[in-house]
């Protein structure tokens, strides 16, 4: 049982140095060592050579092209729609307004997360019917025989609007001066509370007794997810019988299948959803979108394939946005700086409607505002979800958890500032200690494992924390225009979504399990079928590595099948850093199950008891008599021929597992960043970025590092570059990549990645998720560094993104003695 983590020395770094590149063969009589190697991604050759097929690459003869006319107003009544001129354009087959399709929908578009029983959820249809509620809201749909005609037709549709007042500001939205959805009577969607007190009133008492208190306000600006591939959809009906296949650039083919069937009243067994190659999602493709429903409904109506591809500036407005919160966080601390209570108030921007998990996003962060710190049961969290006339928000890489981490990791800096001590020292005084794990948090959740001090000290060493502090003394003298700063973040992430029972307690409408099937073919080649749906994460490589390690065969002999509900009918898809700690573990469990079955066949053929057999390197052998052995290949063929199977054992080697995780997975780490701020221009230069992450056992360090790099850059982008800017009329001013500043390779610093390895005790692989960690760590790290650089000038806070102008203005306000 050498492959189980408890029997294996966990030291992925030494293996990394031993084995680089692709492992092609496994030497017999050597323990297999696939897990922990830097196997090159099998996904990359087709992606890098342009051979990968994305939804819009599919050749679908006879398909009609859908184009969607979108509202130019943030808030308006639709007075009339005249489609005559559009219909006259050659190639235009049909034009539909929202009213024309009203009877097509069996129900409104789905929101799967009614966070409270009282939550207000306005009806939301793929095309607006009476009024539009954001710029980009669908107003009419065109079907044409070619894409150009479909776009020309959009220009020819004449819509008369009666403009209404836009609601852009969150605090103004709460005032209900202009109500967006009249039927709801308010712009408040919900108020969700999490108050945990050891004794009633202990939060207030802690604040009353606190030696130190801080109260900080932070704004999480709206972000555009900006996946490299915009969304694309193709719905292909079968000519007879009513079956329909929906191709979509989605993260969630399984969820999409259920939701499309429900929303359109299609029998679920007649729906097949396929996600071809998907060019990134970051949460934006964890949804059920109007265009998926329109293509499917219109393909059925016209009994012909219908396809749609999103333009980039359309993607900026019609695909969900991320973040969008105003946070107020208060910390109480005793005279040693020990945090005694946390109070948090959030206003969360829902946008115009509730999309699939819109209301749940801030709730995912609700448990993390105490960060990595050992706090008593004195926690008071409340979130108000509010509608605006802006694009709906929803999950975006980290979803609630980056926001929470930002707030606590900025607030602890403020606390350190008020105590006039180093913030690293303050963190050390509050860290949950290694020996406290598994740690039952104030919330009742159990943090599986961790060693925050180890990660923080490792990061400090790599970043040369002490050296930078010494250099600051010399450099940041009065009048200096190039100021040095160092910032840090220690984070804990709640991911690996999720134990189904916990989701039930949060009113989430689905479970959090994942399914896997392992099928050993007659010639000892293997199919792994997974319910995860990769869109850049490398599951084909990683799942093959897990199965290879388990089965004692080469990863090259393993195919990983996914993202097609006809091939992988069971699954809950990919989001929330869940794929490995849930889906990958399911693959391992399915391997165990198939090995168990093979063992019974081997015992029968070797004429011994199954308990007397051990399985190693792909071979069953009798304990103590290694000569009496049968390779898995022989069992695979025997199971296929079924000539000589024990009684009660069915032919074929195949096992299916649906795995519901007992706990979230809790990756953690410390990031540090060194910046130089040019006080004359406000320009911020990141000199060094260090990420020390701990995601437990690493299946493939190459992929882990890639996830950290991408995540860090995305978090750094929130800190320095990106913001969805709206004007007061609700017009998005950053619809193209010229205005929405996604950093390019030339704009990001070198990133040093390092790791500590603290295996998760809750799954047999010892793994934790790593997809979102970088994003969670980076934004507060960069902002902390900037504020640190400018501390000598009286700067105590910095808005995101810290654009040169924002930095310059903040310095001016501080040095003029203005408000912070």
């Amino acid at each position: 049982m050498h492959w189980l983590p408890q029997h294996r020395q966990v030291d992925t770094r030494s293996r990394e140095r031993d084995i680089k590149g692709r492992i092609m063969t496994i030497t017999e009589n050597m323990p297999t060592k696939i897990i922990g190697t830097r196997l090159l991604r099998r996904e990359d050759p087709p992606l890098l050579t342009g051979e990968a097929k994305f939804t819009n690459d599919l050749n679908i003869p006879g398909a009609l092209h859908l184009a969607v006319l979108r509202s130019p107003y943030a808030h308006a009544r639709i007075v009339s729609i005249n489609t005559a001129a559009a219909l006259a354009i050659p190639g235009v087959v049909a034009v539909y307004a929202g009213k024309d399709l009203q009877s097509t929908w069996a129900g409104p578009m789905p929101c799967a997360w009614p966070v409270t029983p009282e939550m207000k959820n306005p009806p939301h249809f793929p095309l607006a019917i009476d009024k539009v509620c954001y710029v980009g809201d669908g107003v009419a749909a065109v079907l044409a025989t070619n894409e150009t005609a479909s776009r020309d037709a959009l220009d020819a549709i004449d819509v008369e609007y009666e403009p209404l007042k836009a609601v852009v500001d969150l605090e103004e939205a709460l005032s209900d001066k202009t109500i967006i959805h009249e039927g709801l009577g308010t712009n408040k969607s919900y108020i969700w509370n999490l108050k945990v007190e050891a004794t009633e009133g202990c939060v207030d008492a802690a604040f009353a007794a606190a030696k130190y208190k801080v109260k900080e306000r932070y704004v999480q600006q709206r972000l555009l997810p900006m996946a490299m591939e915009t969304r694309a959809v193709a719905a292909v009906p079968q000519p007879f019988g009513g079956d329909i296949t929906l191709y979509s650039s989605t993260q969630v083919p399984h969820i999409l299948k259920v939701m499309t069937a429900l929303t359109l009243g299609i029998p679920e067994h007649q729906m097949r959803v396929v996600a071809p190659s998907v060019g990134g999602g970051f949460g934006s493709k964890l949804n059920v979108y109007a265009e998926e429903l329109l293509c499917t409904a219109l393909a059925r109506k016209h009994n012909t394939p219908v396809r749609w591809v999103e333009e980039r500036s359309e993607n900026s407005q019609a695909t969900i946005h991320g973040r969008g919160q105003i946070q107020t966080i208060e910390l109480a601390a005793d005279d040693s700086g020990k945090i005694t209570a946390v109070r948090v108030r959030i206003i969360a921007d829902m946008g115009a409607y509730l999309q699939l998990v819109t209301p749940g996003v801030p709730i995912l962060g609700a448990f993390l505002y105490a960060g990595v710190y050992d706090i008593p049961q004195a926690y008071d969290f409340s979130c108000t979800g509010v509608f605006t006339t802006l694009t709906p928000t929803d999950a975006y890489r980290g979803a609630g958890r980056p926001e929470a981490t930002y707030a606590i990791e900025r607030a602890i800096e403020a606390l350190a500032h008020s105590m006039k001590i180093d913030s690293f020292e303050l963190r050390k005084r509050n860290f949950i200690k290694k020996e406290q794990f598994p740690y039952t948090a104030f919330s009742g959740l159990t943090y599986d494992s961790g060693d925050h001090l180890l990660a923080a000290e490792k990061a400090a060493k790599i970043a040369d924390y002490a050296g930078i502090r010494a250099q600051q003394e010399k450099q940041n003298v009065p009048g200096a225009t190039k100021r040095l700063g160092i910032g840090m973040t220690s984070y804990f992430e709640m991911c690996g979504l999720a134990p189904s029972r916990v989701l039930a307690s949060l009113n989430y409408s689905a479970g959090g399990w994942e399914a896997a099937t392992v099928r050993i073919l007659p010639t000892n080649k293997v199919q792994v079928v997974t319910g995860t749906s990769p869109h850049g994460q490398g599951h084909e490589t990683s799942w093959a590595m897990i199965a290879a390690e388990k089965l004692g065969i080469s990863p090259d002999d393993i195919d990983v099948l996914h993202s097609d509900t006809a091939i992988a009918p069971l699954g809950l898809d990919t989001y929330g850093s869940r794929s490995l700690p849930v889906g990958g573990v399911a693959v391992a469990l399915a391997c165990d199950k198939v090995i168990d079955k093979a063992k019974r066949i081997a015992a029968h053929q070797l004429e011994c008891a199954a308990e007397d057999l051990e399985f190693a390197n792909g071979t069953f052998s009798v304990k103590g008599s290694p000569d009496r052995a049968l390779p898995l290949a022989a069992i695979a063929f025997a199971a296929f021929t079924a000539h000589n199977l024990p009684d009660g054992v069915e032919p074929n080697l195949e096992a299916q597992v649906s795995y519901d995780p007992p706990n979230f997975s809790w990756p953690f780490g410390t990031h540090m960043c060194v910046v130089e701020v040019d006080t004359e221009t406000g320009a911020v230069k990141v000199l060094k970025y260090v990420a020390v992450d701990d995601c437990g056992v690493q299946i493939n360090p190459l992929i882990v590092e890639g996830q950290v790099h991408g995540g860090v850059i995305q978090g750094l982008a929130q800190a320095l570059f990106e913001e969805a800017v709206y004007d007061s009329d609700g017009n998005l001013k950053t619809t193209t990549l010229a205005e929405y500043l996604v950093p390019a390779a030339s704009d990001v610093p070198p990133i040093t990645t390092d790791f500590t390895v603290t295996p998760s005790p809750t799954n047999q692989l010892g793994v934790k998720g790593i997809g979102e960690a970088g994003t969670i760590g980076a934004a507060p790290t960069v902002i902390n560094a900037i504020v640190d650089a400018l501390a000598g000038l009286g700067v105590t806070n910095m808005a995101m993104p810290a654009s040169p102008q924002t930095v310059w203005n903040t310095i001016n306000n501080a040095t003029r003695g203005g408000k912070k």
């Binding site: 320009a683 010229a738 390019a744 030339s746 704009d747």
Partner: protein, 274 residues
């Protein structure tokens, strides 16, 4: 990303291009590298009915030493300007500025003539050639004429080019060993400048022009006069915005732009004075 319908003709010489534009009038547009026009067309913000492709006119791509000045064909790509040995030796400021345009892909497609004819105040090369005292040669149905850079820029995306005229050559005086600096301040390397400064200095003589500080590229004559009159660099730089009228946009307010201009002019003159 699908432009409105248009017709397309390819010209094989400047004379043919001018004859085509004379024929098709104001709805026709010249297409060179396409890096300004095509994005506008894809967003349907520009809908010309006719594109006259001048991109394959072979004899308009050159960089030659013509004695006191260097002549550059209008269809010379930014990358060729950036890497030209002749320019590196005699007009290093222009070669350096060309290396700041967009990213590598843009510099391989975009042309110096296209950039100047588009007259975008946020582009690097209009201001740089203005600072250098360049002259532009244009050709029309009535033959060729020369326009000084100082007379060329008339307003936002408006130049002294008549509708039936085409920019064919840029003439830049040799810098004769002057010190120089190109300062480009932006948030991402590939972006247009929030503010840019092209400056050269030879003793008391200086030329300074500003990128994105008004509706046209701006010649900072007050700065040059101050230097000529013996002012210190920081005193001269304080006058950076005297001729400017910058706008407020997502990246910068008018005041911040003026502040940046004075910082960048100071830095540019300091670098040019070494």
């Amino acid at each position: 990303m699908i432009p409105a319908a248009f017709d397309y003709k390819r010209a094989s010489s400047a004379a043919e291009a001018i004859s085509l534009i004379t024929q098709h009038g104001s709805d026709a547009k010249f297409l060179a590298g396409g890096h300004s026009l095509l994005p506008l067309m894809k967003l349907r913000l520009a809908q010309p009915s006719m594109l006259i492709d001048i991109g394959r006119i072979k004899d308009l791509s050159y960089i030659k030493d013509a004695g006191n000045h260097i002549v550059i064909g209008a269809l010379t790509r930014h990358m060729d300007v950036e890497t030209s040995k002749v320019l590196r030796e005699h007009v290093p400021l222009l070669a350096d500025a060309a290396g700041h345009v967009g990213d590598a892909q843009v510099r391989h497609r975009g042309t110096i003539g296209g950039s100047i004819a588009h007259a975008d105040p946020a582009s690097d090369l209009p201001a740089t050639t203005l600072a250098l005292g360049a002259t532009y040669v244009v050709q029309g149905p009535r033959g060729q004429r020369e326009i000084a850079a100082t007379d060329f820029y008339k307003g936002f995306l408006e130049s002294a080019l008549a509708e039936d005229e085409m920019l064919i050559e840029i003439r830049v005086p040799k810098m004769q060993g002057a010190g120089w600096s190109f300062q480009k301040f932006n948030r991402r390397a590939q972006d247009w400048a929030i503010v840019g400064v092209a400056a050269w200095r030879r003793k008391d003589e200086a030329g300074v022009a500003l990128v994105n500080m008004g509706s046209t590229p701006i010649l900072a004559t007050s700065v040059a006069s101050a230097i000529a009159n013996g002012a210190s660099i920081s005193d001269a730089a304080a006058m950076a915005s005297n001729e400017a009228d910058p706008q407020t946009d997502l990246n910068a307010s008018t005041d911040y732009r003026k502040h940046l201009a004075s910082v960048l002019v100071r830095r540019a003159l300091e670098a040019a004075s070494k």
